[in-house]
Subunit: 113 residues, 2 copies
């Protein structure tokens, strides 16, 4: 069993919740405070903080506190372990086509969604 | 909320367990029966079947029954929704470097692990 198993358990578990994924989507656009993160959700602040705690324990987000404001941002290479694990499971031929496709793809359309 | 949310919930949840990921790793090398999948695990057959049920409900594996033997295999593009979601969260610059790296990378070393 590879030693990053627990890390992958935590990471995939953290991503298995639509609210947490929406927070990651928001943070992919830039850092945000807890109240900024809470705004689009019909959710009490403690619940938001709890979700952020799950994401932080999984190594997906990091937080810094300046004065009374805690700001969250995506960790460097936050989702790389999950992406690499998935990539290793794909059939070799499929994987090579993906790489070529991804490389040739112009990201403009996808980045505006 | 995008309509594939529930699907992503199920998919990431299914991947958040080391035993289920090990089954996916096995099936990435080719189809297998339940007993073949059970062999490397110190696990009762019903538990193996239960894990496979979670993977099947998430659309990651499909099964076919011939006579009394049920064979499992990875679904076509099994992990693509998860891979695409992850890819969309990465910072644009990081993502472009990844693509270049993945395209230039020779897969030989990684595929033997």
């Amino acid at each position: 069993m590879p030693k990053y198993s627990d890390g992958l358990d935590r990471m995939f578990h953290a991503l298995g919740d639509a609210s947490r994924r929406a927070m990651v989507e928001r943070l992919a656009r830039g850092p945000a405070s807890v109240s900024e993160l809470a705004r689009p959700f019909d959710m009490a602040l403690p619940s938001v903080v709890q979700h952020l705690g799950v994401l932080e324990a999984a190594g997906i987000v990091v937080s810094t506190k300046v004065g009374r404001v805690r700001t969250y941002q995506l960790a460097t290479d936050a989702l790389t372990p999950a992406a690499e694990w998935i990539s290793r499971q794909r059939l070799p031929a499929e994987r090579r086509l993906d790489r070529l496709g991804a490389f040739l793809d112009t990201p403009t359309d996808k980045e505006t969604t």
